[in-house]
Symmetry: C2
Subunit: 409 residues, 2 copies
Amino acid sequence: MEAEQDQALKERAQRVIPNGMWGHMDAARIPVAYPQYFARARGCRLWDVDGREYIDFLCAYGPMVLGYGDPDVELAAERQRREGDIFNGPTVRLVELAEAVVGTIAHADWAMFQKNGTDAMTTCVSIAREATGRRKILVANGAYHGAVPWCNPYPAGSTPEDRAHLVRYDYNDAASLAAAAETCRGDLAAILVSGFKHDVGKHHELPMADFAGAARQLCDEAGAALIVDDVRAGFRLHMGGSWETVGIRPDLSAFSKAIANGYPLACVTGSERFRAAAARVFVTGSFWYGAVAMAAALATLDKLGGIGGIAIMERMGQRLRDGIAAQAAGRGIRLRQSGPPQMPVILFEDDDDRRKGWTFCAEALKRGTYLHAAHTMFLSAAHTEADIDRALEATDAALGVVAERFGWQ
Amino acid sequence: MEAEQDQALKERAQRVIPNGMWGHMDAARIPVAYPQYFARARGCRLWDVDGREYIDFLCAYGPMVLGYGDPDVELAAERQRREGDIFNGPTVRLVELAEAVVGTIAHADWAMFQKNGTDAMTTCVSIAREATGRRKILVANGAYHGAVPWCNPYPAGSTPEDRAHLVRYDYNDAASLAAAAETCRGDLAAILVSGFKHDVGKHHELPMADFAGAARQLCDEAGAALIVDDVRAGFRLHMGGSWETVGIRPDLSAFSKAIANGYPLACVTGSERFRAAAARVFVTGSFWYGAVAMAAALATLDKLGGIGGIAIMERMGQRLRDGIAAQAAGRGIRLRQSGPPQMPVILFEDDDDRRKGWTFCAEALKRGTYLHAAHTMFLSAAHTEADIDRALEATDAALGVVAERFGWQ
């Protein structure tokens, strides 16, 4: 059996983990062909527990921005580890990293660090409420901002009060944003926006200038905080923060995933106006001051900037996109590739049940290319032209199967 | 100047971090004599950035249960790191650790893993609400369960709705617990209790059998979940969970701090009855499936059990307690040492402003012994009799200063 080890682990897990797995990495959410358990990784290559090798376009759902096991990041982490990680207080790495973040993120006058993207988003919301003395938070329909009751996309285990002060709008729709803000008159604490629109299973959209400008203006007029959730997009669109691409500066931003190339870290950055409120909000965690993840972040930001990592990812993503577009066009397959090339999503037309999408991905997987049919995918700076070209051989064959099975052309 | 490096870092931090630091490790909360920044650590020894060495009785506020840089834990982590940490799914370490936890924690039929103690507590509450379809959570006055709006001891940045369904009782007071439960009739989701009462600045109390029994009985009668927050006490009182000391088994428990000897990890364990609800609650984080922290946890649990770590910590804590008691008695100093010996708090009588307590600690600090005047302290399995005896020299001199300054005897 091809996936013998994987199957054995799934069975063991069923006994000691509810339903065998939980959260976004639960392989039960994706086709059975996908492995649940992995053994090792290097660069953009990934091996599952049955020894099958993949060119990876998920990058651990985002964190691996320089590639798995990047030697420079690992060296920096190892050097710090020899001195220690957590103590009764932070190390010099905290100050160095806060300085580096303030020097990198365009709107940032200060920084604080956490462990989860959700920690960073919750902290942003608390700072906005503390600074304004107000309660309402505008959140886009379909946006993901974390997995705790106030923002969880799945309400199981939460109470209506957990999200009592959320007001919904549609991303990139300035009129809907204004209408939502209007309902909050005098009680608007913040407008929350993702770095770009990357809702699962939907076409991705970069922020439009009129929408971004309207968000900034509404916050300025109301004295509310503009919060960019850059947890997923951060350090892949623009080193200064994703909304630099539209020339709009938020008041608060949340980063995580890619900031330390896989080491657990999150970050909140803010402008001067929100500094005092940030100092008044009590947020903390046992491992938030850990120096190893901070050393990894320093090395990650330094290297990403130094090698022009974002441009590499963009170029590799464009090469993949162009190749797939040509392959699909040649077969008359209608699909749409959206999002920035370095964070793509590929959706087939007339595919509400996602059968075409998952067939495509499962066939590519068989041929050693790990794609996802609904979630944002991720390029890393470790992807080379040779990797992309090899992946394109897999997608070409996979599109052939899709054409055959679903009768295109 | 003695703390030149520390002072320089504090000044740099003021520019790029709100108020220079945040959370429980903010040295502005403790006397100026205390260093904010640390350089390295080994075993139970800690060095600050100015090269001053301390015997540490805070253990990074709990995580360092085997001592800083424990060679067996570091070796296990390093071996896993060579293969990788995070991927597009977990590794075999997840299954091994869930099995180990289920084999160690008395009430556990399953386990799930997170990064922060707060993550674990929030997950427990969500599971209890999902399982029962109810909303009310009983929480002890003064107890700390995390730093997000639903449980944050400081309300800045939260809304009243965040804690709409919390009902308060007094720890170790069965009558107050029953009265609180009575107000929830038909809507009681869970009773939340700490492994023992370890509120900051208060005498610590082990759970009393009648209180623990009453909590269990109230939950059984109401069909609610008994949740033990073992984030702070876990793996220092009893390997099977802190309430094993009173023979009462909870339905859900939260662990973190000591589970992986400093590597960022948290854990929720539960009984069979709550397995299905746990599978329905969506909780996740980018780094929650990281294999390095899980490898560290496997090594930590294995070694702690193997060497009888809890007994070592208890013995060393008792040696420290007996020594301080004799030193205080000899000078007629009235202080009270409470909590289990391995997680002590030392409070002086007639010391509401804590001046005696902090004088004692600051004088001990000068002599190379790091204590805390309000927070739970922690022994580790790396503390030896020689360490305790050296610390006792420092406490003896420090008590001498207290006696002189505050006129005892």
